[in-house]
Every structure is written in C-alpha cells, then in structure tokens.
C-alpha cells in the first residue's frame, strides 16, 4: 500500500487559458464597473453640464466624501462585519476636535489628534464588545450608533450650549489644518478638492493591504469562515478589532474634512449616512456575509453614488428620484453579487 505516487501533472488540458476579459469578469467589482459606465454614459447623454470638468470635479468630490468611509466599511464587510455607527462616528470625531480645542483654547491640531484617538477608541470598543459578547455586529453597532447620537447632541449642548459646535476659525492651527483636510488643488483650470486625492490614496493603500499582505489574507479569511481561520492560527479577534479601528480612522479623516470645510459642526448630523457607506460597499461587490469584495469596488460604489446624486441635479430632474435610483442600483448590485458567489461556491 505504498504506491502512492499518482501520475505527474503536466499542463492540464482541463484548463483552457483564461482570456483577460474572462479574468476581469471574475473580479468582485465588475458589476459595479459596468453599472458606473452605464450610468456615466446615461447622464452624459441627458445633460451637457455633466461632462464638463467643473461638474465632474464636483461629482468626484461628492463621491470622495462617501468613498473615504466606504474604504473602511468595505474592508470591514469583507471581514464579515458591518458598522451602523459610522455616520455619527464621523460627527463625533469632528465634534471632539472642535469642542476640545475650543473649550481649552488649544491649538486646533491638539484637538485633531485627540479626535484620532477617540475615533480609534470607538472602533476598538465596537470590535472588542463584538468579540467578547459574540453578538451580531448589527446589535452592537446599533447600540453604539444610538449612544453616539445621544452623546453628540448632549455633550455639544452641555459644553458649547448649542446644537452646533462653536466656530474655531480664528484659532491657532486652523489654517494649516484646513489646508490639510479641506483645500483644493487646481488641475487644468478646475478646482479639485483634496479629499479626492486622500480618497484615492486610501483606496490604493487598502487594496494593497487586502491583496498583498498577510493582514489582507486574514481579512478575507475571518470574513469567509472565522472558525476555519481560527483553526489554522489566524488571529481572528485582533483582525476584526483592527478592522473596526480602520473604520474609525476613516471616520476621523472624513470628520476632519467636515469640520474644516466649514468651521463648525451640527451635532445632529450624520444619522443615516452609515447606510450610504454600506450601500457603496455592497454596490461595489462586497458580500454582506463577508469573505468577498474589494476596496476598489467600494470606491466604484461611492463613485456611482456621487454620479447619481449630482447627475440628477445636472439633468435638472427632481431630486426626489435619487433615492429610487439608489434603491434600484442596490438591488441590482446585490443580485449580481449573489450570482457571483453561487458561481464561486458551486460548480
């Protein structure tokens, strides 16, 4: 019973060479990419303004404000969890920075750094509670969402005495922080907001992490099958907590932009935005159940969102239709994802 050697493997005749097109069709974000092209052509044909550089820069800016969060949310979703507290966490971060600097009359940068710590801590707490209790992330982050909503309103009134944070525009460090988080760069005579570049950089880093590092491998694994991942020695808890903290980091970036784009933050804002981020990730091909997706997909999802959002305005339609569009795209995208997953699992 030792004749265990089986025939040597030559080039396999069962594998036909994959054409580049077939390879592309196997990618998670392909559905979103097709959707984005269709939508772009559609709006370009109904509206003259849509394809003008200025309008396009606006579309990109709109996309980036969703896309920055969608980076973190996509990674988290690939890791098998999702976060309902992201919308208000952005505002919490902005409020922390402005209220702290204002109350202690400190350099704005101190508040900015404190906000980073707070945002990472919110992410850590979300992840830690989730890992400790093993409750669904829906429940844990719904609780965080409600608590943060209350804290945003309550603390702002308690400290600042109003519903919005006091203006910090005259404080030390405001100008330099504004230059970092909310300025624009002229490219070919068009002002492009620097959030667009931050967004693109974050997507690039996230893609690299996801596809080319150990941590990326773990993210896919904990989302695809956490028990299997644990059994082969993947640090499941640390990976998931880390993902929540990455979401916290994204919330900080966007929160700082929101703060420095104006100079004050409304404490009641952000509610409902968490769904936009999740929608962007799902349209972009991330499976809600985890284990599949890409950072680029989330970016394309955000771009689709930005195009639909602004395109309807440029086409001079009633913006009432926007939500309908969004819902339809979500449904179509999820159906495409489902088909992809079935094809991957069964054969």
């Amino acid at each position: 019973m030792t004749q265990t050697a089986v025939q040597p493997t030559a080039r396999d005749e069962r594998v036909t060479r994959k054409s580049p097109l077939q390879k592309l069709l196997g990618r998670p974000e392909v559905g979103a990419l097709v959707g984005a092209i269709v939508l772009f052509v559609f709006f370009a044909s109904v509206s003259q303004t849509f394809i003008q550089p200025n309008a396009f820069a606006t579309v990109l800016y709109g996309s980036s404000t969703i896309g920055i969060m969608a980076v973190g949310v996509s990674l988290l979703m690939i890791g098998g969890e999702f976060d309902l507290s992201t919308g208000v966490a952005v505002i919490s971060s902005a409020l922390t920075a402005s209220m702290f600097s204002w109350y202690f009359s400190m350099n704005v940068w101190v508040g900015v750094l404190l906000a980073l710590v707070v945002s990472l801590a919110i992410g850590f707490i979300n992840g830690w509670i989730l890992m400790k209790t093993k409750l669904p992330s829906f429940i844990v982050t719904l609780a965080t969402f409600l608590m943060l909503t209350g804290l945003n309103l309550g603390l702002t009134r308690l400290i600042g005495g109003g519903v919005s944070s006091p203006s910090i525009s005259s404080m030390d460090g405001y100008q330099s922080a504004r230059a970092v988080f909310s300025s624009s760069v002229k490219i070919g005579g068009v002002d492009v907001n620097n959030t667009v570049f931050i967004w693109i950089a974050m997507v690039a880093v996230a893609s690299w992490v996801l596809l080319r590092t150990r941590v990326g491998n773990w993210i896919f694994a904990v989302g695809g099958d956490a028990n299997a991942a644990r059994a082969v020695g993947v640090p499941v808890k640390a990976t998931k907590i880390g993902l929540f903290m990455a979401v916290g980091f994204c919330a900080w970036v966007l929160g700082m932009h929101n703060l420095f784009a104006f100079d004050a933050v409304q404490s009641g804002e952000g509610v409902g935005n968490e769904f936009l981020y999740i929608i962007a990730a799902v349209i972009g091909g991330c499976l809600l159940t985890g284990g599949y997706g890409s950072a680029v997909g989330g970016a394309i999802g955000a771009f689709i969102f930005g195009m639909a959002n602004k395109g309807i305005v440029y086409a001079q339609w009633n913006p009432d239709w926007f939500k309908f569009f969004l819902g339809l795209m979500l449904l179509l995208a999820t159906i495409v994802n489902l088909i992809v997953k079935r094809r991957a699992e069964l054969k």
Binding site: T2, R212, T213, V232
Partner: protein, 305 residues
C-alpha cells in the same frame, strides 16, 4: 470479545518510539477527561501517538471523538488526566500553540475558506512574506509555486491554484488540507472524519494520503466511525463510546470483524430489535436487525477460537 486489550499502563511506561527509539511517545494521553458544565464529554481516555504510526479513534456519533481531537488540537482544554507532547506535560490554550508544537488538525469541515483561492488557503495563517517594515508583503508568486509543487508531490492533479477552493471536490479539499499540514512541518496529523462525506473511490484516495503521511514519518490520528476505513491503515485502535474508552488494541491483536462487532455493539442491536418488536408493525425491520444481531454474535464467537 477476547481480543487482547493493550495493557495501557505498561504500554505507556515502557514502549519506545519506533523511529527515534526514545522511550517517549510523540503524544500521549493518560486518563484524560473533559466536561462541559455538568455534561461529561470525555472520561478516562488513554492513548498514544508515535512517529510513522496511525492511531485510529473509532466511535459512533456523540462518542467523544470530536472532544478528544479538540483537546489535542488546542481548541479545548482537558480537565482531568495528563496530556504529554514528547514526554512533556502540556495544556494547549490555542490552535496556534498546537501548531507550534507540531500538531496540525484537518477538520471535518476542513478549515478552509471556500471563497478564497487555493494558494491563499494553503498558506493561510502562515503566509510567506518579503520586504521589511511597512512594505512587508506576501510573496505571492513563491506561495503559488510552492502550493502547486506540494500538491503535485501529494499526487493531486490540480487545475489552477487561483480557483476558489470551494470549487474542488471533497476529496481534493481534504488532500489540500493534508498537504498543507505536511508542508508546515506537522509532526502529528489529526484527521477528523476525513472520509465521512466521501464516496468509495474518493475515500480510497484519502486513505492513500494517510499512508503517505505516515510513511513520511508523521504520527497520524485518524478519527472515523467506519472500521472498514480504519482497519487497513491503522496501527492502533481506540474505541470510544459515550465519552469512555471501551477498548484500545494493537493491530496484531484484533481483526476487522472484531473491530466491527465492538463498534456495532451487539447488545445495543439486540435492544433495538426488542424495542422495535414492542412497537410492532415493523416486522421486516425487526427481522433485519435480528439478523444483524446474529451476525455480530457469530463473528464474536468465531474470534474466540
């Protein structure tokens, strides 16, 4: 049943490891027990694993097989008894610790992430990296090449390492998992019901890989409820029933029929026949079970000669 049971105490005391000729076992369990709250899942189990030997753990559903391997693989900790690795008493607190000690488990559900490509699964948790500091990245090409080569060495006719592992057949996935364990320097390979969900031919393939792993000098723990799969490849057989050991045999001391008879449990079958009779109406089933009882009694009787 008169098959000579191994005198467990003396066996563990004096036997030498057949490859290293040192007087310790690769793994040994002495009177190990485990309970979940007030439920006793495992009690007083003794067994040993050596290099180049296959130790089979047989038992029906709920016999405690899974609990036993979970203890060995570091997923659970035992409450009673002694668990030794290379003669040193240990209590493993995580699968990572077990892996570091050279114990690799291939689970019933295979511990593979079905949506991920084969090569990512192969190296999951032990990825090869290159570069330094923040630019430390996975060595993708090397991992793909190694995956392909290792699987070819195991005789797995692989189509494409990029395809999701979920597309492979059950037997192939099993083999990838075994090849992975072997590549990562496992000294002890635990196989949890590797043939349970497979057809006859696929099972044969997996059994062959078990022998290949054994011939490479690994200690194999083969968990199954099928004595027909266990007997041809096993060197030792531990029989579990309701969390207890009901027998521990060397291959030379037992035959396949005896093993089957012990597994089937003649007494239980008789009881079942009796119950069915009382229920009435299932006369043909009753007859079948009674025949089975007769069979079991016969093989038990034969072995007495």
């Amino acid at each position: 049943m008169n098959a000579k049971q191994i005198d467990q105490q003396t066996l563990l005391k004096d036997e030498k490891d057949p490859l290293t000729h040192t007087p310790v076992h690769l793994l040994s369990l002495e009177a190990v027990g485990k309970h979940y709250g007030n439920i006793v899942a495992l009690r007083d189990v003794t067994m040993a694993v050596d290099n180049g030997r296959v130790t089979c753990v047989l038992g029906d559903n709920g016999a405690g097989k899974s609990t036993l391997i979970k203890i060995v693989a570091g997923l659970h900790q035992h409450d009673e008894g002694v668990f030794k690795i290379m003669g040193e008493e240990r209590k493993l607190s995580s699968p990572r610790e077990a892996l570091d000690a050279g114990i690799a488990a291939v689970y019933q559900d295979l511990a593979v992430v079905s949506l991920m490509p084969i090569w990512r699964n192969f190296f999951l948790g032990s990825e090869l990296t290159t570069g330094v500091g923040p630019f430390r990245r996975m060595d993708v090409q090397k991992m793909k090449d190694i995956t392909k080569k290792e699987l070819a060495d195991m005789g797995i006719d692989l189509r494409d390492v990029e395809q999701p592992i979920g597309q492979l057949s059950g037997g192939e996935r099993q083999c990838v998992a075994i090849a992975r364990a072997v590549y990562f320097g496992a000294k002890v390979l635990i196989l949890d019901e590797p043939t349970a969900a497979l057809g006859v031919k696929q099972s044969g393939v997996v059994l062959r890989y078990i022998l290949q792993a054994r011939d490479r000098g690994l200690g194999v723990i083969f968990i199954t409820h099928n004595p027909h799969h266990a007997f041809p490849v096993g060197d030792r057989f531990l029989l579990l029933k309701r969390g207890r050991s009901i027998g521990y045999y060397e291959k030379k001391d037992i035959t396949l029929d005896e093993l089957t008879a012990q597994m089937a449990g003649g007494a239980e079958l008789a009881e079942l026949a009796h119950e069915l009779e009382q229920l009435g109406g299932h006369s043909d089933i009753v007859k079948e079970v009674q025949n089975e009882v007769a069979d079991v009694a016969q093989t038990g009787g034969e072995s007495r000669h």
